[in-house]
Assembly symmetry: C2
Homo-oligomer: 214 residues x 2
């Protein structure tokens, strides 16, 4: 379709992010190319580099937006976390796992692609990592309620380990890497893993920094 | 360098697999292209399609080889599994996790790329999945010792869940997706996750098929 060129820097940024998101949804992040984006939003190829230092920075912005959308989904479905003791915290983890799997399933091409895109260290990368920290705080808060006495650094490591473990089950499952797993079965796998791991961490007591990192 | 064209179909297959492996190690699986491979092994582009139906089938063969190399590494480092009770089985899982992380770290570009490459269903895909089953049997066997009474289908699902969870920690860790984690810390995270999950599964009793899959 014919596009009118966005008239401000902010409009151009938004138009480019929207165009890149559509491309990633359809063809994956490898298909995000300056020439096609420029044609899509109706600007000169060179104009892209007035608002983004490079294509990687643009992709990082798409990824940061996706993290924001996920965070908004968590807040919409689950609300803010309140400490009501370890059992309620364990339930919160099950809820987070369920929301994560459903969100990844609905957005799987963009979501799994986010983890396959690799960018060099840059200011855009720092901004993206800060957004990711917001997501991980959603896991750190109930860990505090589940394992009283957990040191901040141990909590930080443990939150990342739990996120990565659930992400592994979600990503290999949605991608059918270990065989075809229907979504309800995948939900049961995520739930079973979270239940077992949390039961194990609780039985073993709050791990020290030395136990979760050398 | 100048190459002499391989003289038999078997030699050509091997030469193409070796060339594709080198390309994946250097540039990732997206860089595996017929023209460059043909130049690399010294054959005509069309000859590739005498031994592989398409490039995806060739990449699947590289991936199947990697699974064989990993399986050989497990046997070399750990030997065959023998049932010496639940505690020894739990130790076996920790050993498997350690060998997996070290292997993925040494081969990370090919290994993580294996999981990002997506191929359509084909006879090559079936052959690859059969190789993957051999790897997963390494996890199913100690599960039997750890959770006596586990039903075969529940064991199958649980082995895949545990593999995917550990793979998630290994892949996001090696790829520094959640921040920069030194290898010794990543080993501690994998060990801590396996310990907690196994403790939790043991405390909860052998899960039924309904608990690991709807």
């Amino acid at each position: 379709m014919a596009n009118e060129a966005p008239s401000t820097r902010a409009d151009l940024r938004e138009a480019l992010i929207a165009a890149a998101t559509r491309t990633i949804e359809k063809e994956g992040w490898q298909a995000v190319k300056a020439r096609a984006l420029a044609a899509d939003v109706g600007c000169a190829v060179g104009s892209i580099y007035n608002v983004f230092p490079d294509i990687d920075a643009l992709i990082l912005d798409v990824k940061a937006r996706m993290l924001d959308v996920f965070e908004a989904e968590v807040q919409r479905q689950l609300g803010a976390f309140e400490n009501r003791g370890p059992d309620a915290a364990a339930d919160r983890f099950l809820d987070l796992g369920r929301v994560y799997l459903d969100f990844a399933a609905r957005n799987w091409k963009v979501w799994l692609g986010m983890f396959e895109h690799r960018a060099a260290t840059s200011p855009s990368m720092d901004a993206y990592m800060l957004r990711l920290d917001v997501i991980l705080v959603n896991i750190e808060a109930p860990l505090d309620a589940l394992l009283p006495g957990l040191q901040p650094l141990a909590r930080r490591y443990l939150a990342r380990t739990l996120f990565a473990a659930v992400h592994g089950v979600v990503s290999l499952g949605l991608d059918q890497k270990l065989g075809d797993v229907p979504l309800p079965d995948l939900h049961a796998q995520v739930r079973g893993l979270i239940q077992a791991a949390l039961r194990g961490y609780r039985e073993g007591g709050a791990p020290t920094v030395q136990e979760v990192a050398l």
